[in-house]
């Protein structure tokens, strides 16, 4: 019954602002203008529809053969035909004027307070703050078990990430949108911002959020297998809170970089490497190469029992592939996405799991060598 009620609700409900069945009003001046424009055009279409369909139904009732056996004879009227060319044209001009001013406002990215580079890749977003030394990746946080219907679905199923983008309210935030591999599209409905991320090119867009809050969106361009699993989550904080957050995160990221350097001289044990490696593999690599390392025939190569992962000679090639990616394929460069320790662990794991028996242990120092070649 539930769907039936929902359908009835949908048909009887005038598209109201609160409804989940209509465009969101959003939280920016631009998104409000877009919403108003949407409603205006919608009402104009409804009015035209009522007139046209109304006349049709009157014809169907009053001019049916049983009521009106003798059809009229007219089949041309130049005046009428000119009128219904000119009047729609005037209505269109009426629509075009607010549309033009809104569009020009939307495309004005000048004089921004904060600039953030948004890079899409299969299937995660990378955010880099230009004014501060902060950058991070943002991935889907929903567990695979929920997607496979094994666990109950959380409230924000598929619309939650491990590290959301944080922006200040009341400031003009400019986004520079680009991509690492295929075309993605960065979309937050509440900001009325949707911009394609094109590899090799940078697009600009902007927003100025009025209310603090959590705003959710998704990738809106077919970008391969996991296109449906690439959410965007933005947290808007008051400027003071934002400043605190950004200095904190800056300090944390700096500390992590220093720790990384210290780790270079340390050796991890096989158990430690394999444990950490399994975790990293399952969160980063398993989407393509599958949890059992079998890959997908013809699309993603298998790691278990084949290729560089089992060839003792190919140790440095294996590191190179994971760190720098393979251009022209879906294999990304993970050098910037993972820490050296994580990289060392995951490569060790790949070379020793699922019956792969190279016995190779990779340490952070080996990764550092490849990265600084």
């Amino acid at each position: 019954m539930k769907p039936l009620w929902a359908l009835l609700a949908m048909l009887s409900l005038p598209a109201s602002a609160e409804s989940q069945l209509n465009l969101t009003k959003g939280v920016t001046e631009v998104s409000n203008r877009v919403y108003d424009l949407h409603m205006t055009i919608f009402y104009i279409c409804c009015a035209i529809g009522v007139v046209v369909f109304g006349l049709m139904f009157i014809s169907m009732i009053r001019h049916r053969k049983s009521k009106n056996p003798k059809p009229a004879n007219f089949h041309e009227n130049v005046k009428v035909e000119i009128a219904w060319t000119i009047i729609p044209l005037l209505i269109l001009v009426g629509m075009a004027i607010p549309a033009t001013t809104t569009l020009i406002a939307m495309e004005d990215t000048s004089e921004a307070d904060v600039t953030i580079q948004v890079t899409g890749s299969q299937w995660k977003w990378h955010y880099k703050y230009f004014e501060n030394d902060v950058e991070f990746f943002s991935r889907l946080a929903t567990q695979q078990e929920q997607i496979n219907n094994k666990f109950t679905k959380s409230e924000n199923y598929l619309l939650e990430v491990d590290r959301p983008l944080v922006i200040p309210t009341d400031r003009k935030v400019r986004f520079l949108v680009t991509s690492d591999d295929v075309i993605h599209s960065w979309w937050v409905p509440d900001f009325a911002v949707k911009k394609d991320a094109n590899p090799g090119f940078i697009n600009e867009t902007w927003t100025k959020v009025d209310e603090p809050g959590i705003y959710r969106g998704q990738c809106a361009e077919l970008c391969g297998k996991d296109h449906g699993f690439m959410p965007v989550v933005v947290i808007a904080k008051e400027p003071a809170e934002y400043e605190k957050w950004i200095t904190d995160i800056e300090a944390k990221q700096e500390a992590a970089r220093q720790r990384e350097q210290e780790l270079l001289s340390m050796e991890m044990s096989k158990e430690e490497l394999m444990d950490l490696g399994e975790k990293v593999y399952n969160s980063t690599c398993a989407a393509c190469h599958q949890p059992n390392g079998q890959g997908v025939n013809g699309v993603f190569p298998a790691l278990a029992g084949s290729g560089v992962a089992v060839d003792p000679e190919a140790k440095s090639k294996h590191i190179d592939i994971v760190v720098n990616g393979v251009s022209g394929t879906a294999m990304q460069a993970f050098g910037q996405q993972l820490s050296m320790q994580e990289l060392a662990a995951v490569i060790t794991y790949e070379r020793n799991a699922w019956g792969n028996e190279t016995g190779d242990l990779i340490q952070a120092a080996d990764i550092n060598k490849v990265m600084n070649q």
């Binding site: 039936l4 949908m10 209509n22 059809p71 269109l92 979309w187 009325a192 697009n203 998704q218 022209g328």
Partner: protein, 528 residues
């Protein structure tokens, strides 16, 4: 006595058909080729429909239950390709083959041997395309639009087969279009000048020019895709100096006129059926012709409205927005003309008319959402959501496909010589028209609420809408089996049809007996 015998013998000889499989393989007869096109189209309609059922079944509830995301993408991609190139376009070509010669009083198409070729390469194109689904790595999974670089650097090896099959489909379409143009220009009955041609002939005439103009563009785009993937060129690869957005410009320069290729012949069909069942001449014949030509010309100026979010300069966005909005004017003229044709008519509601009326209303709804999509600032919100899916299914399913069904019911008596089972046909209409709205109408809301298209799984807030949509989808799919049943029943037998079974129908096709003899108009009729 002897003259009578001779006459009978002559007549029998006249309608002699080759027998056996050879009749179909080597035929140059426009009616046989038309029937084969229609049969092929119906088959593909069910193949593409089966894929849609897979999509709707997976989307019945959130989570992944039936298919994995990679296979889901293959289904959406091939569903689109099969429906566009396999179902809608061949259906119109089939109708053109059957009806254009009969409507202009010609004995056959002008280039009958090419006609045979343009049909017979099509099944091979689709065998290649559908076969690619069984390859290692699966079939094409990059959407029917095949945006680079997903379709180049990141696709499986079935891409080569995809490109090859698209080439063959394109060649078939171009040959078909050349045939239509040459036939209409050269083989009209004496006295039938251009402004006396039935509108179906006019709309196909214009469509054929569109086809010739844009199919090579598609061929070019997919060839560049092929060389990028296999021969190291960089048309769409920024690392080598190319531009992935250029692919979209080229693709949509084909793709936008393509959508009018799939709707202009519908306008012709509806312009034949509404006057017939209104018993009144079509209102504004000449403005219909001019409107069709205007739509065709404008269709070349609006391709980038599919690309508002790609990052075009604001002036380009404004130009494409204005041009796109303009298309509403000639399209509106057509709708107003149909309504004016009905006004003060004497209407009856046989099945073709029911489909035609549903066409006018539902196509107009698709037109409204199209107008909304044209407004660039709002398009940023609609783009690549289910709102777009709702829009183009309203114009393609309740538009193009409903008009093909209207045409099939209108001309079935002429093709088969039998009346179809009218009760069954009306059942087909009502189940279709109700279920198709349950299927596509809620998609508008899913899109507005923020559901992107081409996703195999979705946030729980979209669950109800998707469930309703899927139920509508299954019902619409099942309803089409009734259509199959009506057609088979009608081909096998039924009440004998008159030469002109519809009281108000007009046109040369109704002057020949039903079923239309194998050879018609060997002596051209006189038109005044």
């Amino acid at each position: 006595m002897s003259t009578a015998v001779e006459a009978t013998h002559h007549d029998a000889h006249h309608d002699h058909k080759p027998s056996g499989i050879g009749r179909w393989l080597f035929t140059t007869n426009h009616k046989d080729i038309g029937s084969m096109y229609l049969l092929f189209s119906l088959t593909m309609f069910f193949v593409g429909g089966a894929m849609a059922m897979v999509i709707r079944a997976e989307l019945f509830q959130p989570g992944l239950q039936l298919v994995d995301p990679h296979f889901f993408n293959q289904m959406t991609t091939v569903h689109g390709l099969v429906m566009i190139f396999g179902a809608v376009m061949p259906a119109f070509t089939g109708l053109a083959n059957w009806m254009v010669p009969m409507m202009i009083g010609a004995p056959d198409m002008a280039l009958p041997r090419m006609n045979n070729w343009s049909f017979w390469i099509l099944p091979f194109a689709f065998m290649i395309l559908l076969g690619s689904l069984f390859m290692e790595g699966g079939g094409p999974a990059f959407g029917w639009t095949a945006y680079a670089p997903l379709s180049t650097s990141y696709s499986s090896d079935s891409t080569a087969l995809f490109v090859f099959s698209v080439h063959i489909m394109g060649i078939s379409s171009i040959m078909g279009a050349i045939n239509v143009i040459v036939t209409i220009m050269n083989m009209r009955a004496p006295g039938m000048n251009y402004m006396k041609m039935p509108l179906f002939v006019w709309t196909w005439f214009i469509t054929a020019f569109l086809l010739i103009a844009v199919m090579p563009v598609l061929a070019g785009a997919v060839t560049m895709m092929l060389t990028d993937k296999y021969f190291g060129t960089s048309f769409f690869d920024a690392a080598g100096g190319g531009d992935p957005v250029m692919y979209q410009h080229i693709f949509w320069f084909f793709g936008h006129p393509e959508v009018y290729i799939m709707i202009l012949p519908s306008f012709g069909i509806i312009s034949a059926i509404i006057p017939a069942f209104t018993r009144k001449r079509l209102f504004g014949y000449s403005s219909m012709v001019y409107a069709t030509a205007a739509i065709a010309l404008l269709s070349f100026l609006v391709w980038a409205h599919h690309m508002f979010t790609t990052g075009m300069p604001v002036f380009a966005e404004l130009f494409f927005m204005y041009c796109t909005m303009l298309i509403a004017v000639p399209t509106g003229v057509k709708v107003f003309n149909w309504v004016a044709t009905m006004w003060k008519g004497s209407m009856t509601f046989e099945t073709p008319m029911l489909f035609a009326l549903a066409f006018v209303i539902l196509f107009t709804i698709g037109g409204f959402s199209g107008l909304m999509l044209a407004i660039t600032p709002v398009d940023f919100q609609y783009h690549d959501t289910y709102f777009v899916v709702a829009h183009f299914h309203y114009v393609l399913v309740t538009g193009a496909i409903f008009s093909v069904m209207a045409a099939a019911y209108y001309w079935l008596p002429k093709w088969t010589g039998h009346m179809y089972d009218s009760t069954l046909a009306k059942t087909h209409f009502w189940t279709s028209v109700i279920s198709v709205n349950v299927l596509f109408f809620p998609m508008h809301f899913a899109g507005l609420a923020g559901m992107p298209r081409r996703i195999p799984d979705y946030a729980t807030q979209f669950a109800d809408v998707n469930q309703i949509t899927s139920i509508g989808g299954f019902a619409f799919g099942l309803s089409q089996l009734i259509f199959l049943w009506v057609v088979i029943k009608c081909v096998k037998g039924g009440e004998k049809a008159d030469a002109k079974p519809w009281e108000g129908a007009e046109g040369l096709e109704w002057t020949v007996p039903s079923p239309a003899p194998y050879h018609t108009f060997e002596k051209p009729p006189k038109v005044d």
